[in-house]
């Protein structure tokens, strides 16, 4: 409008064609249209909701010039092929869990969680200030992607069991839906790990094809209805003390992106990270209450089970490190980071949380 007024004021008396007038804006950043795929279905509304929030946020922060369209698992590629699709340039970016790709290289797991790893806040500290982001992205170079922190679920549950677990012996021969490194650790204790897609867990557990299954936590598990086919619900999910979500971006697409857009993407990731973790923390309590009211038997893994598991995990890590230099490099610094974090967290955070837990157990809150 003002453009026209100027043109008229200059006495031209003609309307400037829009196509010519547009470049008058001082070198605007290009309008781009990207696609972001997800490993998760729309029914996981916290995870897929996080991707939708991200797309909206980037649009707001770039005046709508960087448009990113979200696609759920299966809409463009299957959920477990997100990394491949981003690597290959099928899409520019994808939301996934890095540890889905441990088959390519176990090192991916550090980006999500490894058994007896960092809790959520420790992982964020490692990623943002402890060199985690740099270490993982150095590793990602060979895979043609850039990885950004994209939220997390908090500590997960240990899953649903048809029978009570009283000892390490009770794990012998147990068929459990559990993947990645957790499956490898549990296999050393006699478990027979099974890879089963989310949609088929319910049926497998109902029929008794499997004896146990881990998924996420109360909020997501309750939606799968696993409580209806297995009575025991164990804690904690020691293989995911703080499972993080990752956003992969094709390295070439990332490098070619104008710096202002890169900043918008990075800041939107921080927003989404906080939003996602807080949404799980908000949703889990009510879901847990509903489950317990519906008859779910909440139980804690016996300490000897946890001790045998961490011993098996440490041994496994040492073996992997001996043959995988990328894993070894990150493991060395990550391990000392975990040691220091655990020392500190048991003082103030742990002291506070465990007193509040006792008060809660005594119904005093």
């Amino acid at each position: 409008m003002k453009r026209r007024r100027f043109v008229r004021a200059a006495g031209l008396g003609v309307a400037a064609p829009a196509a010519v007038a547009a470049p008058a804006i001082a070198q605007p950043a290009p309008a781009l249209r990207w696609r972001a795929i997800s490993s998760f279905p729309k029914s996981l509304d916290t995870l897929f909701g996080a991707l939708e929030l991200f797309c909206r946020r980037v649009g707001e922060l770039t005046d709508g010039r960087l448009t990113i369209l979200p696609f759920a698992a299966g809409e463009i590629v299957p959920g477990l092929q997100v990394l491949d699709a981003v690597q290959g340039g099928t899409v520019e970016m994808g939301q996934t869990a890095a540890y889905y790709y441990v088959g390519k290289d176990v090192t991916f797991a550090f980006d999500t969680a490894i058994p007896f790893g960092l809790n959520t806040r420790q992982h964020m500290a490692w990623w943002l200030h402890g060199g985690g982001r740099e270490a993982m992205n150095e590793f990602y170079k060979a895979h043609g992607v850039v990885g950004l922190l994209f939220g997390g679920t908090g500590a997960q549950m240990g899953g649903w069991f048809r029978k009570e677990i009283r000892s390490v012996e009770d794990l012998q021969g147990l068929k459990m839906r559990v993947g990645g490194l957790a499956g490898q650790v549990l296999a050393r204790l006699g478990v027979m790990p099974q890879q089963i897609a989310a949609a088929e867990i319910y049926g497998a557990l109902e029929k008794g094809t499997i004896d146990a299954a881990e998924w996420v936590g109360p909020y997501d598990d309750e939606r799968l209805g696993l409580n209806r086919v297995a009575p025991w619900y164990y804690a904690p999910g020691w293989w995911e003390g703080g499972a993080a979500v990752t956003l992969y971006i094709g390295a070439k697409a990332w490098t070619a992106l104008p710096p202002a857009y890169r900043k918008a993407v990075e800041v939107a990731c921080m927003d989404v990270t906080l939003w996602t973790i807080a949404r799980y923390d908000h949703g889990n309590p009510a879901a847990l209450r509903k489950l317990v009211e519906g008859g779910t038997r909440l139980a804690a893994f016996p300490i000897p089970v946890l001790e045998a598991s961490i011993a098996a995990a440490s041994q496994l890590y040492d073996e992997i490190a001996a043959r995988n230099p990328a894993f070894a490099r990150i493991y060395a610094s990550w391990k000392s980071y975990r040691r220091e974090q655990a020392q500190w967290f048991r003082i103030a955070e742990g002291g506070f949380d465990s007193f509040m837990a006792t008060q809660s157990a005594q119904n005093k809150l």
Copy 2:
């Protein structure tokens, strides 16, 4: 440049004066210059660093059109007058701890922490998804400000003591630098709370004018050198299980801000929140190790002290609620939120963290 080319192409043959050419840009948002003050000195580099990061980020997200300049405590107004300066319009915004203003109304404390309150993640869940932001901002209307979450310190330490605390009786007559609601709770157990500015804590503790002082946690405390004048370092700081920082913005300035700028401010706050919490979590472990290596005696408050304190706190809240409707309204919903959060957090998060704490205590990590 392209503007001129168009003008030449149109055959005018004159350079358009800059002042006239400028409006050709499609109604750009106005260039604004704001000031953000802080309650914290530059020496608290995580807190003041968060404000600097925020100002930089807003600049990046608005193409430098919303410029915000950060000022440390005392540069424009004293640290504890941030709310007043924002309320009165001296500056547009300020970073502070809401509970500094409990003298105006105790209700402010919910925004930071109240004794035996929410931990950091629970507070974020309450603020972002549990109605906390809405409840506090409803309260803030009468005070002429808008409040945004601006990070936090994590669970704080219980402070430095010249003598060991073995029982509730040991608190009798203890002069302790501790403010707000924590001071009121401790007064019920015989402590004589003292209000002392940060810069004077060291001297007061050294001279024995006071017997104890709480500040933040290892990272900040070590810089004040409190370990050199008091040997005992207690955990947890049950009055700040997850102390949050607040950014106040004058309500009129906020309403007048273009929506795109408001969005940039809000998203930058999320970025800063994550960055700050992670930076404390990153910095505390090394500081704690340094303190312990230097002779600091780390200790946990005896459980009877915690139990007497939470009983006194609950009684205090009931008394306040009986005479303060704003406090009562928020306390009712906040209390049930705390109950539900504590129930859930002791299952997966608590189960995981406490096992890792045990492993840490046994030097197995």
